[in-house]
């Protein structure tokens, strides 16, 4: 199988805390892969370590055959990664349109992708001149995902897309993510197992900073004992 991203045994420290103690994630090209695990297990840190925002001290991050650990975040992102962070990180002082334009990596990205983005999230088009603060949680989440689509990204790292959203909006978000997966590979961090299991083909479970189990989502969904053991709920 061809892997677009291959994370090999990374160890990440934040301050003096040893947060990731050996995480392995392999992401097949064109798939949706979910990172699962309890709160504080290290899922978000794994995404940030891939991007270099919390650079791993040991281990390798191989993106399309190239080792990227130790590079600056903007260099890694420029290789074709779109990042949708936890809590969305919408720029408050920028309008919706400026939030999107900021994500351009070459001139004209926004104009080229406009139609596709507004096709996916029709709501955003009429909010275009509003400031980032004026948006509801769901709209902010749409904007955060849309922002990751402006540049030509082959890999999307999406952190908690369903967090704090109403069920109807979660449905919309899920269908949008499903549409996106035909264009790019997606790594998803998701607390809500139901959402994750409906979207992802593969999973990696992270527990206390280590990746402990991986495989096909279908198999996990049928394995009630494992779900109970690793994710507590469901």
């Amino acid at each position: 199988m061809e892997y677009i991203l291959d994370v090999q045994d990374i160890h990440t420290f934040i301050g003096q805390y040893h947060i990731l103690q050996g995480v392995n994630v392999r992401v097949p090209k064109g798939s949706i892969t979910a990172l699962l695990g309890r709160n504080g297990a290290g899922k978000t840190t794994t995404l940030k370590s891939i991007l270099g925002l919390t650079p791993p001290r040991n281990g390798k991050v191989i993106l399309e055959g190239r080792e990227v650990q130790g590079m600056r975040p903007f260099e890694i992102a420029s290789m074709g990664i779109g990042f949708v962070p936890e809590h969305r990180a919408i720029f408050r002082d920028l309008s919706v349109e400026e939030n999107l334009k900021l994500a351009e990596r070459s001139k004209g990205d926004y104009l080229r992708k406009k139609e596709f983005i507004f096709g996916l999230f029709p709501d955003l088009e009429r909010l275009i001149s509003l400031s980032g603060t004026a948006l509801s949680g769901g709209q902010q989440q749409m904007l955060a995902v849309a922002r990751a689509l402006v540049a030509d990204n082959r890999l999307l790292l999406i952190d908690e897309p369903s967090e704090g959203l109403a069920p109807v909006i979660i449905e919309n978000m899920m269908s949008a993510i499903r549409q996106l997966s035909s264009e790019s590979t997606i790594v998803l961090v998701e607390q809500n197992f139901l959402v994750a299991s409906k979207l992802a083909e593969y999973y990696v479970i992270i527990e206390e900073g280590r990746s402990v189990k991986e495989g096909n989502m279908q198999d996990l969904a049928n394995d009630k004992a494992a779900i109970h053991r690793y994710l507590g709920a469901a």
């Binding site: 991007l51 925002l53 130790g70 590079m71 600056r72 975040p73 903007f74 260099e75 992102a77 420029s78 290789m79 990042f83 962070p85 990180a89 720029f91 408050r92 002082d93 920028l94 400026e98 939030n99 334009k101 900021l102 994500a103 990596r105 922002r147 540049a151």
Partner: protein
């Protein structure tokens, strides 16, 4: 609209109290006094704003409290003075400075070079120091022998004070030309270039990065090439350039001085950020120590080079006319005679101090606003103030933007310095009180808020000037015979008091956002 009032009612009440106070102040003095005091306040506010806005841009995006900002303001003034009063010195300095800085313009190339060199661990530790030492030795040998026509602070007849005085009398002395006598010109130029390359490479090794996607393109050599060309042109056409600058009318020379001061400030800022501050982003206390130390070093350097005594920078003739037809009675009249003063509402207003400086302040205010609101760089800055990490995650080289913003901020301070020089005069301490004013203005307006910096600066300028004015005419206390005259120490105290009151009511300043 209604919700805006409801949300900001404290701010609106505070502002209306200010308006009421100022109109009360207007009742207590004659109209001409009021107009002049108002304009003076705006002038002080404009200079304060130039320092405060740069400081606040840097603090907002980089989280660096640049305590050297006041010193850089002062250095801008001294650089501008040098270009204006001693253009020959400026031309002589052009070549060595351009060559010394040129090596640093290649800083993107050095990591690549470093990665090609395989060295033992011990050599790796020694090499940067060795290179830096070699560079310093070369510089130390060449610079004293490099010919630069220069004043002499020890000799009153040739001190900056004398040159400043003579320039204000309209005489530009034919300065003694400096020539290569001790070393050959080729040795001088090549030596400086070599020292620069070696030194910049050594410094880059101190902060070597692990790995980079860097690819060599011609773009990395643009800055180097430009500086090299400046250096060579300055060297070959030295005498012609000096003669040209000395032949310019003082208006154009003043413009050159302002531009040179601004660009030098920007360059100084860029070097300071990329060499000294960059390794300290994760250690805020060290940044404070560093910038505080740099501030002290800067002041001592100015003392060593320009001397301790205060001196003036003459105004360009455009603002310096006297005699027939002066003071001007209208702006058309002023345009015809270039008077230094103009009669407005029966009061004599100094054109440079009280009209030109506030106008420049306004132009800068609007240009930076346009930069922030309408350009991509401005968008990155506004986004970066809130969340640098996310901006970087979008694939934007935030660090390069940091350098640009630092350069911009210091450039604005230097602009403030050179503009203030003809009205305030040059002294070793001119930066300190102004920097304090700027900090107070920012606390009042909201630390990282750009319109807040402008509002705070204007308020600080106004309250100072009104207190000074009332120190002359006195405030009659109602129902008593007493006339209260604020003493000079009350001037700085009044701004601090204003700050305290505003921070008690609005802890984030007038326009600051809640954290």
């Amino acid at each position: 609209m209604v919700s805006y009032f409801r949300k900001n009612y404290i701010l609106l009440i505070t502002l209306s109290v200010f308006v009421a106070l100022f109109s009360a102040a207007a009742q207590g003095m004659s109209q001409q006094d009021f107009i002049i005091t108002l304009l003076r306040g705006l002038a002080v506010g404009s200079i304060t704003f130039l320092v405060a806005s740069g400081f606040s841009l840097i603090f907002g995006l980089l989280d660096v409290l640049n305590l050297a900002h006041g010193t850089l303001f002062m250095i801008g003034a001294y650089i501008g003075w040098t270009v204006f009063v001693r253009p020959d010195t400026f031309v002589d300095l052009l070549t060595p400075l351009a060559l010394i800085v040129s090596g640093f313009a290649l800083r993107d190339v050095y990591p690549l070079l470093a990665s090609r060199i395989r060295l033992g661990l011990r050599m790796k530790r020694i090499l940067p120091w060795a290179l830096a030492l070699v560079s310093v030795l070369i510089l130390g040998w060449i610079l004293p022998r490099y010919p630069i026509a220069y004043w002499d602070t020890g000799n009153f007849a040739q001190s900056p004070v004398t040159y400043a005085f003579m320039a204000s009398q309209g005489t530009r002395l034919p300065a003694p030309l400096a020539a290569f006598t001790e070393i050959s010109p080729a040795l001088g130029l090549i030596g400086l270039l070599l020292a620069s390359l070696v030194g910049a490479f050594g410094l880059s090794l101190f902060a070597s990065e692990t790995q980079s996607t860097f690819r060599m393109t011609w773009k990395n050599f643009i800055g180097f090439a430009i500086l090299l060309v400046i250096g060579l042109v300055g060297f070959i056409f030295n005498n012609a350039l000096t003669a040209f600058l000395l032949g310019l009318s003082s208006n154009w020379l003043f413009l050159v001085a302002v531009i040179v001061a601004m660009l030098s400030g920007a360059g100084l800022g860029a070097l300071m950020e990329s060499i000294l501050i960059r390794p300290l982003y994760s250690r805020p206390i060290y940044q404070l120590m560093l910038t505080l130390g740099l501030s002290a070093i800067g002041i001592e350097m100015v003392r060593a080079v320009w001397g301790r005594p205060e001196f003036v920078m003459p105004k360009p003739v455009f603002f310096d006319g006297t005699g027939a037809g002066c003071p001007a009675t209208s702006f058309a009249d002023w345009w015809a005679n270039n008077c230094s003063t103009i009669l407005l509402f029966e009061g004599r207003v100094r054109v440079y101090n009280e009209i030109f400086i506030p106008l420049v302040g306004l132009v800068v205010l609007v240009s930076i606003w346009i930069l922030l609101q309408r350009t991509r760089l401005g968008m990155i800055i506004r986004a970066g103030v809130q969340d640098r990490e996310m901006v970087e995650a979008l694939g934007i080289n935030v660090r390069r933007v940091f350098t640009m913003v630092f350069a911009l901020g210091v450039g604005l301070a230097a602009l403030g310095g050179v503009l203030a020089a003809p009205s305030m005069g040059l002294s070793n301490v001119m930066g300190e009180s102004l920097f304090l004013n700027a900090l107070i203005a920012l606390a009042i307006g909201g630390l990282t808020n750009y319109p807040g910096a402008a509002l705070g600066s204007v308020l600080v300028g106004l309250i100072q000037q009104f207190i000074i004015k009332y120190g002359q005419i006195g405030i009659p206390i109602p129902f008593t015979e007493i006339i209260f005259k604020p003493t000079p120490p009350l001037v700085p105290a009044s701004t601090v008091l204003l700050m305290v009151i505003i921070l008690l009511i609005l802890p984030n300043g007038l326009l600051g956002k809640k954290e």
